[in-house]
């Protein structure tokens, strides 16, 4: 079994998860647990999941990343998924995957900016996103 772990960096009250490896299903599961534990332990202001190092993510991995964002949000932590590259974005859309209830940013820098501005500005938007995700439960949905 692989011993790869994905580091979770705590920086200026933000938790930053930078995924730089090929994601296996068990690695995604571990990451889900680790992130929620880190959130509980450190009560960060925001969570950034940076995925520019991930070349391929299929429906399961995309759903897992979405779940991580939803878990963080339910724990009161604003979350941004950053760095979905062009080819992956096209593939996800073509497959009919949505990342609903998840805020996304072009890159890590944009994600940090987003969270810096976030707090009050996005309080309403957060409430709306929360409503969307609770309405959707954890299943995937199709665009069409």
């Amino acid at each position: 079994m692989s011993t790869t772990t994905i580091p979770i960096i705590h920086l200026r009250e933000l938790l930053i998860v930078s995924v730089q490896t090929e994601l296996s299903d068990s690695l995604v599961e571990t990451l889900k647990d680790d992130v929620s534990h880190e959130i509980a332990a450190r009560s960060p202001r925001g969570l950034i999941v940076e995925v520019s190092g991930v070349e391929i993510f299929d429906s399961y991995i995309a759903a897992s990343i979405r779940q991580i964002a939803h878990v963080a949000r339910l724990m009161g932590v604003a979350t941004v998924v950053a760095g979905i590259n062009a080819a992956m974005a096209i593939t996800l859309v073509e497959m009919g995957m949505q990342m609903s209830g998840v805020r996304t940013a072009l890159n890590l820098d944009a994600a940090v900016n987003m969270l810096e501005r976030a707090k009050e500005e996005h309080a309403e938007e957060d409430a709306a996103l929360l409503a969307t995700m609770l309405g959707n439960d954890s299943s995937l949905e199709s665009l069409s």
Binding site: D58, A63, A87, T91, M95
Partner: protein
């Protein structure tokens, strides 16, 4: 005429290499004029590959269009690498799906073959993602099975994916593929997503006997 250049594997690879340095229109112009000068047509380009004479004409085109010598040198190196790669089509690969890591291996193999066939980056990602869905379904629902990857020549050059297992089969396959069925685990979307990413897609499944999915994707003509 321009479309015939990229009809086959070798043509597509040539355009991809040139595309790293030039616009698609310029890349096609370089290939077309080199083929004319070398007295070649797109059929024998696929059969015989790029020989020394054609490479010479290609490099002349590269030097003509390249803004500076560094540019031209980089393109030359890429073309020479291509000569080696284009010598023969990528071998067929069979990936047994037994453990979870095999899902990752299947999508990596798919990506490598897609690149060797001449798919661009987005095409490679789509193919690898589709294979990942099929491999995951095998592992999740049938425990074991296999994925076969091969090159096809018709209707245009492309990749053929065959996923076989002897698992429980899929009872409601029509509902799954019409999108009216949704599972918590996302299986419906996996197969449906794979179908949407591929050009051709066929499922043969029988409850209690297993599932066989045959899918293919071709280079744009």
């Amino acid at each position: 005429m321009s479309s015939t250049v990229a009809n086959g594997r070798v043509g597509a690879m040539l355009l991809r290499v040139l595309g790293a340095s030039f616009s698609p229109m310029t890349s096609r112009a370089i290939v077309r004029s080199a083929m004319t000068q070398a007295g070649r047509d797109s059929e024998d380009l696929e059969r015989l590959g790029v020989d020394g004479a054609l490479l010479g004409h290609l490099l002349r085109g590269v030097r003509f269009y390249a803004p500076d010598p560094t540019h031209a040198a980089r393109c030359r190196a890429a073309l020479e690498d291509l000569l080696q790669a284009a010598a023969e089509p990528p071998p067929d690969v069979m990936v047994p799906i037994v453990r979870e890591v095999d899902i990752v291996r299947a999508r990596q193999e798919a990506r490598t073959i897609a690149a060797a066939i001449g798919f661009d980056h987005t095409g490679q990602v789509k193919i690898a993602t589709a294979v990942s869905e099929l491999a995951r379904n095998i592992f999740r629902y049938a425990s074991t099975g296999k994925i076969e990857l091969s090159t096809v020549e018709r209707p245009s050059v492309g990749i053929r994916i065959v996923a076989v297992d002897h698992g429980p089969g899929i009872a409601n396959i029509d509902a799954v593929l019409s999108g009216s069925y949704r599972s918590k685990t996302g299986m419906g979307l996996g197969l449906l997503g794979c179908q949407r990413l591929m050009d051709a897609f066929e499922v043969d499944t029988a409850v209690g006997r297993g599932t066989r999915v045959v899918a293919s994707k071709h280079l744009a003509r």
